[in-house]
């Protein structure tokens, strides 16, 4: 792993660095909402998943969904974070039609999960080396989602869909440990991998089930280190919050645009206003949503309809015992047990589906060979064709069959690629394809010797040359392979040629 190198942006007046902290909203995987029994199913008709509580009818009261609490604890454990056995729900008061109660129930002062840390794996986009860095987690808290306002159905009215109203969200807040756009995306990717592995959020960013706000500020080199030493935010620049991004690409684009915007302002002698901004993916720019002056006074106070959320440590311990293997643990195991490189282990452990697929391919077979075939040939093909792993035309068992044929010298790696292409085309299992097309590797030394003899006899000039320049033996290898239709065992060809040519 290479070290983390500073990421600088060259301005007119010198270098600048980036500092970022992220707030990720992850929808809790749960059949029912945080404080009501209503369904959380996606894609229902508008206002069909709405209970009396979600619609804030008079006299309705919230009752905590224990399963959502369990999911938050599970996520906190996955983030290696402090679990607070006493936490509290507060009301965040503001008026909006998609917020029926006139307040959001959230955990402002006392979150259920405190500080933690995750290891983030970064693959820089522009060819840099892959590396990892620890990102500290500030907190995780539970809160209600709002409904959806639909402004474009009617020129004069806004329509409101309350299906999402009251759905449980986990807000996961990082410390300002993120320093590049790629790191920001990688952080979200890692969080996503963790919650998916835990089964606490489906991570579906297209549906908005996982979305990120990024706090971006810029500073001069050296300032961040001073901040880390002292904890004093005045060493850092004024931050702007980029709201609600649900794609890794947008996150990076938005940060790059925003950083340059802030640098331009500062270099022109201006000041960055602390504000909330929205990213426009079409124009690839951020624009102001509301400034600090317009910010609501949310009048937070403890929700008197709910008791403090208290539970036994024993429950936490029980949940801890039931945790599945997390991506980092899986990677470590892949490195140790299968001898994979950290990079391959990282790619294969990033999500459970890929990891399971790989393990099925590798079972009882050469794991490094399996890793190469899974990550390079199969994932390469799937990525190129934009096909999900679950829709792969080649199953793990079939790919395993192909790898066995390579390992036991039935076919060469080169022929295997040909066989793999035929498997994708739906020609069936590797062994059948090899049989049907007569692709079996020739290991019969007698047969190879015969071909070698013929070629030596027919090419006296090359034979003379190879004695002077042994490196030209490759020409003979090519001729033999060509004559055998690629089926001759390359090692056997080499050995026989060397012997016959007296090299």
């Amino acid at each position: 792993m290479s070290a983390r190198t500073p990421y600088t942006i060259k301005g007119e007046t010198g270098d600048w660095e980036l500092v970022m902290g992220l707030e990720v909203h992850a929808q809790v995987s749960s059949n029912a909402k945080l404080f009501s029994g209503a369904s959380t199913a996606f894609g229902s008709d508008p206002n069909c998943n709405v209970s009396l509580v979600d619609a804030a009818m008079p006299g309705m009261l919230p009752v905590i969904n224990k399963f959502c609490v369990e999911q938050a604890i599970r996520t906190g454990l996955g983030l290696k974070a402090q679990i607070n056995t006493w936490s509290r729900f507060d009301r965040k008061n503001y008026f909006y039609p998609d917020l029926p109660q006139g307040y959001q129930i959230s955990q402002f002062a006392h979150p259920i999960v405190g500080e933690g840390e995750i290891e983030v794996d970064v693959e820089p986009a522009h060819g840099g080396e892959a590396y990892s860095f620890p990102c500290r987690i500030e907190r995780l808290h539970l809160e209600q989602d709002a409904g959806k306002s639909i402004h474009d159905m009617d020129p004069n009215s806004t329509y409101v869909d309350l299906n999402r109203s009251g759905v449980a969200l986990m807000e996961i807040v990082s410390k300002p440990d993120v320093r590049t756009p790629a790191e920001a995306a990688a952080y979200v990717k890692k969080l996503r991998a963790i919650v998916i592995a835990l089964g606490t959020c489906d991570g579906d960013m297209d549906k908005g089930n996982l979305r990120a706000d990024v706090n971006v500020s810029v500073c001069r080199p050296g300032q961040y280190e001073k901040f880390r030493e002292t904890g004093d935010f005045s060493h850092l620049g004024t931050r702007c919050e980029l709201k609600n991004m649900n794609s890794f690409r947008f996150i990076q684009q938005a940060i790059e645009y925003e950083a340059r915007r802030q640098i331009e302002i500062l270099e022109d002698g201006g000041v960055v206003d602390q504000e909330t901004r929205l990213f426009d993916p079409v124009k690839v720019e951020t624009r102001s949503m509301r400034s600090k002056e317009d910010a609501h006074d949310y009048r937070y106070f403890p929700d008197p309809d709910l008791l403090p959320l208290e539970f036994e440590q024993a429950w936490v311990d029980k949940i801890r015992e039931s945790l599945p293997e997390l991506p980092d643990e899986k990677r470590a195991r892949f490195e140790a047990d299968y001898g994979l490189s950290r990079y391959d282990a990282g790619v294969l452990s990033a999500d459970a589906e890929k990891a399971d697929f790989f393990e099925e391919v590798a079972k009882g077979r050469d794991p490094k060979l399996a890793a190469n075939w899974v990550t390079q040939e199969l994932f390469g093909y799937l990525n190129k064709q934009d096909i999900e792993l679950s829709d792969s035309p080649v199953s793990a068992a079939s790919l395993g069959g192909l790898i066995e044929l390579i390992s036991n010298d039935t076919i060469s790696g080169k022929i295997a690629k040909d066989v793999f292409a035929r498997m994708i085309e739906g020609e069936g299992e590797a062994s059948d394809i090899v049989e049907t097309h007569g692709l079996k590797q020739v290991t019969d030394t007698g047969a190879i010797e015969k071909v070698v003899d013929e070629i030596i006899a027919a090419n006296p000039e090359q034979v003379a040359q190879v004695k002077e320049k042994p490196k030209t033996m490759g020409w003979f290898v090519g001729q033999v392979m060509k004559a055998s239709g690629g089926k001759a065992n390359p090692k056997a060809v080499n050995d026989i040629l060397k012997a016959k040519l007296g090299l």
């Binding site: 009396l52 619609a55 804030a56 009818m57 008079p58 006299g59 309705m60 009261l61 919230p62 009752v63 905590i64 009301r91 008061n93 008026f95 039609p97 029926p100 109660q101 006139g102 307040y103 806004t158 409101v160 006074d297 009048r299 937070y300 106070f301 008197p304 309809d305 709910l306 008791l307």
Partner: protein, 490 residues
């Protein structure tokens, strides 16, 4: 009007069970009484057809020797309780013609025991008031009048409709609710009995919320025994209310006659306030004498933070209300006043829908929760609240129940106190402490003022010790022999 409407709840239940009269008969009598008493403005919705249907169902069950604990008993329901299919507005314009599709847990408990609903009772808007003058439907008139004076008096508030209906024999008993004294003060003003149980005894599900941490359901009735009967039926553990206590509801009826022999009754010195009328003072002393004579030990106690109770209450209650009432925005139900845009629609709806007192409290509540003021007001008030609770905990180490007056004065005339909100808020001075501390408190009529108006004494019990309230309340009721009824002028 027949004699049936004058029965106590206990006597009526006996009569129904013995088939001395039918549920339909007594219900008919109440329907007639209600019709003839509209000048009192106690009911804001009358449900005679529903009442008769429920009465007939009760009669059918009674005929089979079946039926619940309240089978066939006609009751009035404070308009704060959501009642399925019956308009529920908390007497506020902002709820328009809102008719719930659901039933509050407390009222459902009553119907499950066979009670009959006569209609919805008037109240101060969103239970904010001590005189019933803030109701959208106009004030309730107290059946009681001062001797030789024809001026209309307030029945108190916010459960003024409940108290007037019980005092005027317009129901056997009524549901009410108490956030700072809204059961006990109107009970004292109308010569009726009212109890606020321990916070968490009764479910708040389906009760239009005023201040969640203070609101509690309870009954207003003609006698202490009737309150015991009705309170037991109202209370239950409710999984739909997170603050509802998961405990058994005792049968309090037997406590009423137990007497107070051996009980230690605390008399808090801080409740003797400057400017308190002499007759209230005298009534209190009389109460002490009665209990002493019945074998109780009188103990002087101190509740040193009492003087901070009212200010703390008028921070906490409006703060919670400002958030609880945010849902009345004209978007999903109730009355909307359209404006040019969203903000103006909100403003017009809420300015048009809420009355002056509600608006005042919403503004106070918004202010005390605002950034920069939260610590100075809300947080400090919560600390005061803890101190008040600790005062009680300490006091209860040397006594089993506390005796105080219910109110600093008897019923007053309309307009007498509505000019100055602070003077109005002083009505709650003896009652808010029980809400802030979550303790049970009962008001029992104990005598008449010089003007011939009822006066009440309050008994505050330990948390979950309603039994002490009923024992002491029962003793006061027997000793006072309070039988006065308002002279019928309406």
């Amino acid at each position: 009007m027949t004699e049936l409407t004058k029965l106590t709840l206990a006597a009526a239940l006996d009569g129904l069970k013995a088939k001395s009269f039918s549920a339909r008969e007594i219900t008919q009598d109440f329907i007639q009484a209600i019709e003839q008493s509209r000048v009192l403005n106690a009911y804001v919705v009358e449900t005679p057809e529903k009442a008769l249907a429920m009465a007939d169902a009760s009669d059918a069950r009674l005929a089979k020797g079946e039926g619940g604990k309240l089978e066939g008993a006609p009751l009035g329901i404070k308009d704060l309780y959501c009642t399925a299919g019956v308009r529920t507005t908390a007497c506020s314009n902002i709820l328009g013609e809102f008719t719930p599709t659901y039933e509050s847990t407390v009222t459902q408990n009553l119907w499950d025991q066979g009670a009959v609903m006569l209609g919805k009772l008037n109240m101060d808007e969103f239970a904010m008031g001590s005189s019933n003058e803030t109701s959208r439907f106009g004030p309730v008139v107290n059946p009681w009048r001062r001797k030789g004076d024809n001026r209309d008096l307030t029945p108190g508030g916010s459960s003024g409709g409940s108290a007037a209906a019980v005092a005027g024999d317009l129901c056997l008993a009524a549901t009410a609710s108490d956030t700072g004294g809204s059961i006990r003060q109107p009970a004292a003003f109308t010569g009726t009995v009212g109890i606020k149980p321990t916070y968490g005894r009764a479910s708040r599900y389906g009760m239009v919320a005023f201040a969640s941490s203070l609101d509690q359901a309870g009954p207003i009735s003609k006698t202490v025994e009737d309150s015991a009967i009705l309170l037991e039926a109202m209370c239950s553990h409710d999984p739909k209310d997170s603050t509802s206590l998961n405990i058994e509801t005792p049968d309090w009826r037997s406590d009423v006659a137990k007497g107070v022999k051996g009980m230690r009754i605390g008399i808090p010195k801080e409740y003797r306030m400057d400017g308190m009328s002499e007759e209230i003072d005298k009534l209190w002393d009389q109460g002490i004498e009665w209990l002493k004579a019945a074998g109780a030990e009188i103990v002087d106690i101190s509740l040193p933070h009492t003087k901070y109770a009212l200010p703390a209450y008028y921070i906490v209650a409006p703060a919670e209300a400002s958030s609880n009432l945010a849902r009345y925005d004209g978007m999903r139900y109730g009355a909307r006043v359209d404006g040019d845009n969203l903000a103006s629609t909100y403003e017009a709806t809420r300015a048009g829908g809420f009355g002056a007192e509600v608006q005042r409290r919403l503004m106070i509540g918004t202010y005390v929760l605002s950034s920069g003021y939260y610590d100075a007001y809300y947080l400090r008030a919560q600390k005061v609240r803890t101190k008040i609770l600790n005062d009680f905990v300490e006091a209860f180490e040397s006594c089993d129940a506390i005796l105080t007056p219910t109110c600093p004065s008897p019923a007053f005339a309309f307009g007498e106190k509505s000019g100055d909100p602070v003077e109005m808020y002083l009505n709650d001075v003896f009652t808010v402490t029980a809400n802030l501390a979550g303790l049970p408190g009962i008001s029992v009529p104990a005598g008449l003022s010089s003007g011939g108006l009822p006066l009440g004494l309050q008994v505050i019990g330990k948390a979950l010790d309603e039994a002490a309230c009923f024992r002491v309340g029962g003793e006061l009721e027997r000793a006072a022999g309070f039988v006065a009824k308002p002279e019928k002028w309406w």
